[in-house]
C-alpha cells in the first residue's frame, strides 16, 4: 500500500492541528473560526475528490453486486464533493479543484483485480473516516459539524459493505469497533 500513504498525505484537513490542550480540557477550540471551518471543508473536498477518482478507477475491476455498490458509492462521493464545494463557495472561498485523473491514478497503488481494489477502497475510506472524526470537533459551526457527521456515517457504511465483500459477511468482520475512528486495521 505504498501508494496509499502518498494519497493519504493529500487528504489531511487543511488547518487541522493535532490534539491540543484546549481539546483535552473540553473547552471549545479558541482557534475555531469561520475561516478555519472553510479550510477544513476544503481539505475534506480533497478527500472526496480522491474517493471519486478511486471508485471511478475501481469500477472497471468489479462485477455483479460489488460493482453495483461501488457505483452507488461513486455517486455518493460525488454528492459529498458537490455539497462541500457549495459550502466553501457560500463561505466566500474558492473550492479546491479535482486534479487530473492521471495524477490520482499515479498516486494509487497497483490495482490488478477486485481484491486489490476492495482493500484499497477500505483503506481510503478509513483515511477519510479518521480525518472526519478528528475534524468534527474543530469545526465552529454546528450545522457544518452535522453535515460532516452525516458524510462520516455514510463512509462508515461504505466500509461495512466493502469489508462484507472481502469476507464471508459475518457481522464481526464488517462492524469491527464500537467507536468508528478509521484506525481499525483494514
Amino acid at each position: 500500500m505504498a501508494g496509499l500513504s502518498a494519497t493519504a498525505g493529500t487528504l489531511a484537513f487543511a488547518g487541522c492541528g493535532g490534539d491540543d490542550d484546549e481539546s483535552a480540557l473540553g473547552i471549545p477550540d479558541p482557534r475555531a473560526t469561520p475561516q478555519r471551518d472553510r479550510a477544513i471543508l476544503n481539505g475534506a473536498l480533497n478527500l472526496e475528490n480522491t474517493a471519486v477518482a478511486a471508485y471511478t478507477v475501481g469500477l472497471a475491476l468489479l462485477r455483479g453486486a460489488v460493482r453495483r455498490h461501488a457505483e452507488r458509492f461513486l455517486d455518493q462521493e460525488r454528492e459529498h464533493a458537490a455539497a462541500l464545494a457549495g459550502l466553501v463557495t457560500r463561505m466566500g472561498g474558492e473550492p479546491n479543484r479535482a486534479k487530473p485523473a492521471e495524477e490520482y491514478r499515479a498516486a494509487f497503488p497497483r490495482l490488478e483485480g477486485e481484491t486489490d481494489f476492495l482493500r484499497f477502497a477500505t483503506d481510503l475510506e478509513n483515511v477519510g473516516i479518521s480525518a472526519y472524526v478528528e475534524g468534527i470537533p474543530k469545526l465552529k459551526d454546528g450545522r457544518l459539524r452535522q453535515t460532516v457527521a452525516s458524510i462520516l456515517s455514510d463512509e462508515a457504511q461504505h466500509v461495512t459493505v466493502l469489508l462484507g465483500a472481502r469476507s464471508d459477511g459475518r457481522p464481526e468482520a464488517t462492524v469491527r469497533e464500537p467507536f468508528v475512528t478509521g484506525k481499525a486495521t483494514a
Binding site: 483535552a24 473540553g26 478528528e134 468534527i136 452535522q146 468508528v180
Partner: protein, 175 residues
C-alpha cells in the same frame, strides 16, 4: 479517548498552573450543563439500544448472521453506554437514567429486525442533532465515532432485510 473525568483533572491542574485564562475556565465550568443534558438524552437512547438487541438475542427467533449481528451490536451498544456513563460522571452528574426493564420481543424475525433498524434511525437522528449542540471537543469526537457505528449497524440490518445497505449520501436518520 480523553474522558471528561480526565478533562476535569486537567482543567484543575491547568488552573493551578495558571495555564488557562480565567474566561475560558469560567466557560468550561458553565458549559458542561448543556453538554450534560445532551449526553443524558443519548445515554437513555443507548440504554434502549441495549434492550432492543437483548430482546432480539433472547427471543431465540434469530439464527445465522442475524443472531450474530444482534449479539455483536448488543455488546457495542453496551460500550456506548459505558462511555457515556463515564462522561456524565466526569461532568459531575449524580443522577443517571436507569436502564429500562426487559420485555419480551413480539413479532416475526423480519419485524424484530425492522424494529431494531427503526431504533438505529432514531439513535442516528439524536447523534446528528447532538453535533449541533455539544461544545466539548472530546464529546464531539465520541459522538461522531458512535454515530458512525450506529450507521454501520443500520447498514447490516438493512442488508438482513434485503435492502440497500447505504441508500443515501448523507446519513441523518431521516428518510
Amino acid at each position: 479517548m480523553s474522558t471528561p473525568a480526565l478533562t476535569r483533572r486537567a482543567l484543575a491542574a491547568a488552573l493551578a498552573a495558571g495555564a488557562v485564562p480565567l474566561a475560558a475556565a469560567d466557560e468550561a465550568r458553565a458549559r458542561p450543563m448543556g453538554d450534560r443534558e445532551v449526553v443524558l438524552g443519548l445515554l437513555a437512547l443507548e440504554q434502549r439500544s441495549v434492550l432492543v438487541y437483548d430482546q432480539l438475542v433472547r427471543s431465540g427467533k434469530l439464527s445465522g448472521s442475524a443472531a450474530a449481528a444482534a449479539e455483536l451490536f448488543r455488546g457495542q451498544e453496551r460500550r456506548h453506554v459505558d462511555a457515556l456513563t463515564q462522561a456524565l460522571k466526569g461532568m459531575g452528574a449524580t443522577s443517571l437514567p436507569k436502564a429500562p426493564s426487559a420485555q419480551d420481543a413480539r413479532g416475526d424475525v423480519g419485524e424484530l429486525i425492522r424494529l431494531a433498524a427503526e431504533h438505529e434511525m432514531e439513535s442516528i437522528r439524536a447523534y446528528y442533532e447532538a453535533h449541533a449542540k455539544l461544545r466539548s471537543p472530546a464529546l464531539l469526537a465520541t459522538a461522531a465515532s458512535v454515530m458512525a457505528n450506529e450507521a454501520q449497524h443500520l447498514a447490516v440490518l438493512r442488508q438482513l432485510l434485503g435492502r440497500d445497505p447505504s441508500p443515501v449520501a448523507f446519513v441523518t436518520g431521516r428518510g
